[in-house]
């Protein structure tokens, strides 16, 4: 994958004509935006039903990418292929490649735990681990071999601050995490994910269980974090995608219908299906 430095520059001219910002099978995409995750011809099926059909997509580095689409179209499934969580489902068949930083994570020599560590995950319902607030954050670090109390203390504090949770919990770090409110729990999960120093944050409708204020805080956090992390989030809420996403991937029945920069896809969709979805005709 060699790329000449001026190659992206040359191509910027016709980038606006290409509605697809991302050019497949190239480590470097147009506009000089680097690709972080590339999915190549991914097919996923449970038994006889095919869930993802020949999906190919590039996720840009250090941007917020939103995956939208009607319920059951395979958004969660696609997201779970990024960190190979999909494998643990019974009777699943996976074909194709997912490249993270150019390396196929489904390759033979990939160490799954190291690969997963690169990605923080926020689920639909916040899932604090059955332990204290402190231990929730320290859990990942301990697993990866950090034992020194002083380092742990310092980092727990740091990441709780990163997730804007520190002020609310600093006096009760050793209480069970389940005692927190749902919104606080989701921020705790964010802090916990950040603590293993990932490059990517995956969110599966991370705000759907939260109240408006808590949702807003997560959204603000995402916008703040995108300087340092690649963020991929599934969302049902079109307005949310409009507010914070840089890129949007629209899926329908296991296929990617359209993808591109957020404003283009939302204001000026090329496909009929996307138009209808954006207008709210299908949902």
């Amino acid at each position: 994958m060699q790329t000449s430095i001026n190659e992206p520059m040359e191509k910027t001219g016709n980038a606006s004509q290409h509605a697809t910002l991302i050019q497949p099978l190239n480590g470097q995409s147009l506009n000089g935006v680097k690709t972080h995750i590339s999915v190549r011809n991914l097919n996923i099926s449970y038994g006889n039903s095919q869930i993802l059909k020949n999906v190919s997509i590039d996720i840009p580095d250090k941007k917020i990418t939103a995956i939208i689409g009607p319920s059951g179209c395979g958004k969660t499934t696609l997201l779970k292929t990024f960190n190979r969580l999909i494998e643990s489902s019974d009777g699943i068949k996976i074909e194709g490649e997912v490249l993270v930083d150019g390396e196929n994570i489904y390759g033979k020599n990939v160490e799954v735990t190291n690969m997963r560590k690169k990605m923080g995950l926020l689920s639909q319902r916040p899932m604090p681990l059955p332990m204290s607030i402190y231990d929730n954050i320290a859990y990942g670090m301990r697993i990866h071999g950090i034992r020194k109390k002083s380092i742990l203390n310092e980092r727990v504090t740091y990441y709780l601050k990163q997730a804007s949770l520190w002020n609310e919990v600093k006096d009760r770090l050793h209480q069970p995490a389940t005692k927190l409110s749902i919104g606080q729990q989701q921020r705790l999960c964010l802090a916990r994910g950040l603590a293993v120093e990932p490059e990517i944050i995956l969110g599966d409708e991370p705000t759907s269980a939260l109240d408006p204020i808590s949702s807003q805080r997560i959204e603000e956090k995402f916008v703040e974090l995108k300087d340092q992390y690649t963020i991929v989030m599934v969302t049902h809420i079109l307005r949310q995608a409009r507010r914070i996403a840089d890129y949007i991937v629209f899926m329908y029945l296991g296929e990617i219908v359209e993808h591109g920069p957020a404003h283009e896809l939302l204001e000026n969709p090329r496909e009929e299906m996307t138009k209808e979805y954006v207008k709210g005709v299908i949902s």
């Binding site: 735990t113 997963r116 899932m127 681990l129 059955p130 859990y139 916990r192």
Partner: protein, 299 residues
């Protein structure tokens, strides 16, 4: 003023449910009270402390030392807990976390069949398999040559095997209630499967797992028959796991309705039942206390 029917019904339903609960709750007190009342004769002639701390059992001479029975009961329970608890946890963890769907449903149905086997079959099986195995192989290996094999170890083993099905069944249910997303949360932080099971799944399931063990053993205490068949029934304090013992349920089942000519014997057996009930209650309360502590720490 006439109350509408549905409000009336609601009140009646509420009251009758309350009555029933009180009734069921008081049943326990009735049983404990009844047994205590029936054992009063022996308590009048012997002190409570003497009864539970003396070890000589000669009903003909009015010597009633219950210590061998109590200790046998406790030892057998400890032996079977030590065998059953780790095996049940490992087995249910394997079935719920590692086994494929097919293996899981196959083994689960086997376990359920096991649950339906009458305890006398387990007793017979203990006599033809476990007892000879202990006397011919296990005990000599530990330098004990002259054992019959009828021992508290045999009793503990049979008891452990009998509680397997129910405990595993409940544990599987408990593990199923741990959300998939919780496992995924741990995996996504880079934990491997075993770390996830040990530090997250089992922790989350801990109160339920303890409940499964308590339930299994509360039932198993009552499964007198199979244990009685392999334990040797000798009223001496067992000093090793290869010694014979005589648990309380066996004492009651073996002797009730016989030797009633001996004075106080009837009352002594009632006292044995009373003690058994107390042992079970203590076991339950201890487990509940433990469970509460675990729950407070975890969730």
């Amino acid at each position: 003023m006439v109350l509408p029917l549905r409000i009336l019904l609601d009140k009646v339903a509420g009251k009758s449910v309350l009555c029933l609960s009180v009734l069921i709750g008081s049943l326990l007190f009735l049983i404990v009270g009844g047994l205590y009342f029936k054992s009063l004769p022996i308590l009048e002639s012997h002190s409570f402390w003497d009864l539970i701390s003396k070890s000589i059992w000669k009903p003909g001479k009015e010597q009633f030392g219950f210590l061998p029975y109590i200790l046998s009961t406790v030892y057998i329970t400890i032996i079977s807990l030590t065998i059953a608890v780790p095996l049940c946890i490992l087995c249910s963890v394997y079935l719920s976390e590692y086994a494929s769907k097919r293996v899981k449903s196959f083994v689960t149905s086997l376990v359920d069949i096991l649950a339906g086997i009458p305890s006398v079959i387990f007793g017979i099986w203990g006599i033809i398999m476990i007892v000879p195995f202990i006397s011919d192989t296990l005990a000599p290996a530990f330098g004990q040559e002259d054992t019959t094999g009828y021992s508290i170890l045999a009793g503990g083993l049979v008891l452990a095997i009998m509680v397997f099905p129910i405990v595993i069944h409940i544990m599987l249910e408990v593990l199923r209630t741990v959300p998939v997303e919780l496992r995924e949360a741990s995996l996504s932080l880079g934990a491997n499967k075993w770390e996830t099971i040990k530090k997250v799944v089992l922790r989350k399931a801990a109160p339920g797992i303890i409940a499964a063990i308590v339930l299994g053993f509360s039932r198993a205490f009552g499964e007198t028959l199979a244990v009685l068949m392999v334990v040797g029934n000798t009223a001496l304090i067992p000093h090793s796991i290869f010694d014979a013992g005589y648990p309380l349920p066996a004492l009651i089942a073996n002797n009730y309705g016989e030797m009633m000519s001996i004075p106080l014997y009837d009352s002594a057996l009632m006292f044995a039942s009373f003690l058994l009930l107390v042992v079970i209650l203590i076991f339950n309360v201890a487990a509940r206390f433990f469970m509460m502590r675990v729950e407070r720490r975890m969730s």
